[in-house]
């Protein structure tokens, strides 16, 4: 699933039924819209010359105050931290600051475009971090040419940050980088393309299973696509008690199993996939998607977007009342109305214009709010699962139906609860530097998550941010 910005203000929850030509027309329209949005984004990026800036958060009454905020006063603050390094979380903004680190090796669907070209995306991510989570996020695209260099750099900058968000790093190196960096630093490390998507997926799946009267333990699940998101989803599902034998992964070479021709190659190049090849697929299935989906309760497709990857006959072949997650963006592996017509009981996509959007933005701002508020020393899977459970609970409190298995981006009152659940988990796991009650964490999260919207409005009202200029019409050929 590609990252998607907060949903449009009025997402339709109605199933869409369209003829093929209407569909083609809609596609053309969407393409036109995407093109227009791109043109406008370039125009605005030029106008504002970037999307974020740093602003002092203390009063500066006169230049005399500089002697408090800077030298000589600040020297005593440094001395204090030098004596007790943990004070860096109390006497500086470290506690609320996250580095968005990328090597630009897999940016959106654009591929390996490098750190400079990745910067606008990281600025956008920083904006979402602040606006949705109240988190100060600093884009740090780095020019490195090996995972070791990446790790050394990320480790070296850790003292300035309360957390590290890895972004847009190619698979499979992203797995090793996340695992290893998490061991090296005493702050939470998150790779959004793995964990953000996986946590949202698992949250939606927990509710989809509930709606269809199933449990994780009984489910037979097919994961289509074995990239960052689905491999993390597999790991989380296994941690939740999903029977390994009842999980089957399918990638471009077909069903992943222990005797597949490329399995030795995987043992060298992709140990994470290799380990899953050995553990999963208990029935000894082989072949392709068609063989994998036979009798499955759940399909989670997070593949390279090729429309029609999942076909009605695949859905037909599944168990009664199947669950279909088609998360490719912008075009899901199967359109929701097609999946439902083929018998799907619950359908989720990565898009905001259909019901049940599996969206990273439901997760990462709240997860970071939570770990930062607890000043957590890490981000184990237990924390990720706590977020997923709370997100699922949030959707249930609002009324669980097949069309509402996840909160929408508008149901933002859920997010502080996710943050508090995350902070609670950090406390429970002994990782929290700050130990508060659930209600205290919830209060803090609410305040800290609400402030940025007020800030942005206030800056706009006082014309400290310039109003958005009118769009110049696109130049058309004469």
């Amino acid at each position: 699933m590609a990252e998607s910005a907060p949903a449009s203000p009025t997402p339709s929850r109605l199933p869409r039924r369209r003829s093929r030509s209407a569909e083609a027309e809609a596609d053309r329209l969407r393409e036109g819209q995407t093109e227009e949005l791109g043109r406008r984004a370039v125009e605005l990026s030029r106008f504002y010359a970037g999307k974020i800036e740093t602003v002092p958060k203390v009063p500066v009454r006169s230049l005399h105050d500089f002697s408090l905020w800077y030298t000589p006063g600040v020297a005593e603050v440094s001395r204090a931290i030098h004596r007790a390094p943990e004070l860096s979380f109390e006497l500086t903004g470290r506690w609320n600051t996250v580095a968005i680190v990328t090597d630009g090796s897999r940016v959106l669907g654009l591929g390996d475009i490098g750190p400079r070209a990745a910067l606008p995306v990281m600025e956008g991510k920083a904006l979402l971090f602040k606006f949705l989570g109240g988190v100060d996020a600093i884009p740090v695209p780095i020019a490195v040419n090996s995972p070791d260099a990446f790790l050394a750099t990320a480790e070296a900058i850790a003292p300035a940050f309360g957390g590290i968000n890895l972004e847009d790093i190619a698979s499979p190196k992203c797995f090793g980088i996340l695992e290893e960096l998490a061991k090296r630093v005493e702050i939470p490390v998150w790779h959004d393309d793995q964990l953000g998507t996986a946590a949202a997926t698992v949250a939606g799946l927990l509710n989809a299973l509930e709606v269809t009267g199933r449990t994780v333990r009984e489910a037979r699940t097919v994961l289509l696509g074995a990239g960052a998101a689905n491999l993390a989803t597999a790991r989380l599902l296994l941690a939740l008690g999903h029977e390994p034998g009842r999980l089957t992964l399918v990638d471009q070479h077909g069903v992943l199993h222990a005797e597949r021709d490329d399995v030795d190659e995987l043992s060298v190049r992709h140990p994470w996939k290799y380990r899953l090849a050995l553990r999963t697929n208990g029935g000894g299935r082989s072949g392709g998607l068609a063989q994998a989906v036979e009798g499955a309760d759940v399909v989670i497709a997070a593949s390279t977007p090729v429309p029609g990857t999942l076909r009605p006959e695949h859905v037909h072949a599944m168990a009664p009342h199947p669950i279909v997650f088609a998360l490719a963006n912008p075009e899901p592996e199967i359109w929701p109305d097609v999946a439902r017509a083929a018998g799907a009981a619950v359908v989720a996509t990565g898009r905001s214009d259909f019901a049940n959007q599996v969206n990273n933005s439901l997760v990462f701002p709240a997860v970071f709010r939570g770990v930062l508020d607890a000043r957590s020393k890490g981000m184990p899977d237990e924390i990720v699962l706590a977020a997923a459970h709370e997100l699922a609970g949030g959707a249930r409190r609002k009324g669980l139906t097949a069309q509402h298995i996840l909160p929408t981006m508008q149901e933002s009152d859920v997010f502080p609860h996710v943050a508090a659940a995350v902070a609670d988990a950090a406390v429970r796991l002994g990782l929290a530097r700050v130990r508060l009650t659930h209600d205290e964490f919830l209060d803090r999260a609410r305040q800290r998550m609400a402030r940025p919207a007020r800030l942005v409005r206030a800056l706009a009202r006082s014309h400290l941010t310039q109003p958005m200029p009118r769009s110049r019409p696109a130049r058309r050929p004469a």
Binding site: A258, E259, R260, D261, E265, R269, L278, G284, S286, G287
Partner: protein, 174 residues
């Protein structure tokens, strides 16, 4: 892709999941795909180990010849339980003269392979023990193993069992 994958052996299996015995003529068909898997694995470690298109017929020919060669040892590992009589691994070794050094006869392990599901449970060790015994019985005074220099898993496997690097082969393409 293989036509049917095997289900994982039962999780409660204890001890080596395999049974090792000398290979027979009738095993050649089962050994060749495993041998090719091993060679393709080696390909991962160095471009000079790129597998030839005609590797398969050669493999069959070589294994067959070695089965008839008193200076060679070919053993197979069979699965247990539902995989009984299924060949899941093999080892291939041959005796080499050492005209200048002592001991005079060296048993060289050229291939050792076990399907992934049967690894890490003593099966590899069992194969190694059996082939070492067979080589010793044929008069070898030292046992050696050949594998790609970059294969760290192999380095660790052998080091743990008392092997140390003795000679190195360094290559430069021409």
């Amino acid at each position: 892709m293989s036509p049917t994958a095997s289900p994982p052996p039962s999780a409660d299996a204890s001890g080596p999941p395999v049974h090792v015995r000398p290979a027979r003529e009738s095993d050649v068909g089962a050994i060749v795909p495993l041998l090719l898997r091993l060679k393709r694995l080696n390909e991962e470690f160095d471009p000079l180990l790129k597998v030839r298109d005609d590797a398969e017929p050669h493999a069959a020919e070589i294994v067959r010849a070695q089965l008839a060669d008193p200076k060679a040892v070919v053993l197979v590992a069979e699965g247990s339980g539902t995989d009984r009589e299924k060949v899941v691994g093999f080892v291939r070794a041959s005796l080499r003269e050492r005209p200048f050094y002592t001991p005079q006869l060296e048993g060289v392990i050229v291939d050792i392979y076990l399907l992934p599901l049967y690894r890490r449970r003593g099966g590899g060790e069992y194969l190694l023990r059996e082939v070492t015994g067979a080589l010793k019985a044929k008069g070898a005074g030292v046992v050696t193993a050949e594998f790609p220099a970059q294969n760290e898993i192999a380095v660790r496997f052998y080091a743990k069992r008392g092997f140390r690097p003795v000679t190195s082969i360094h290559a430069r393409p021409l």
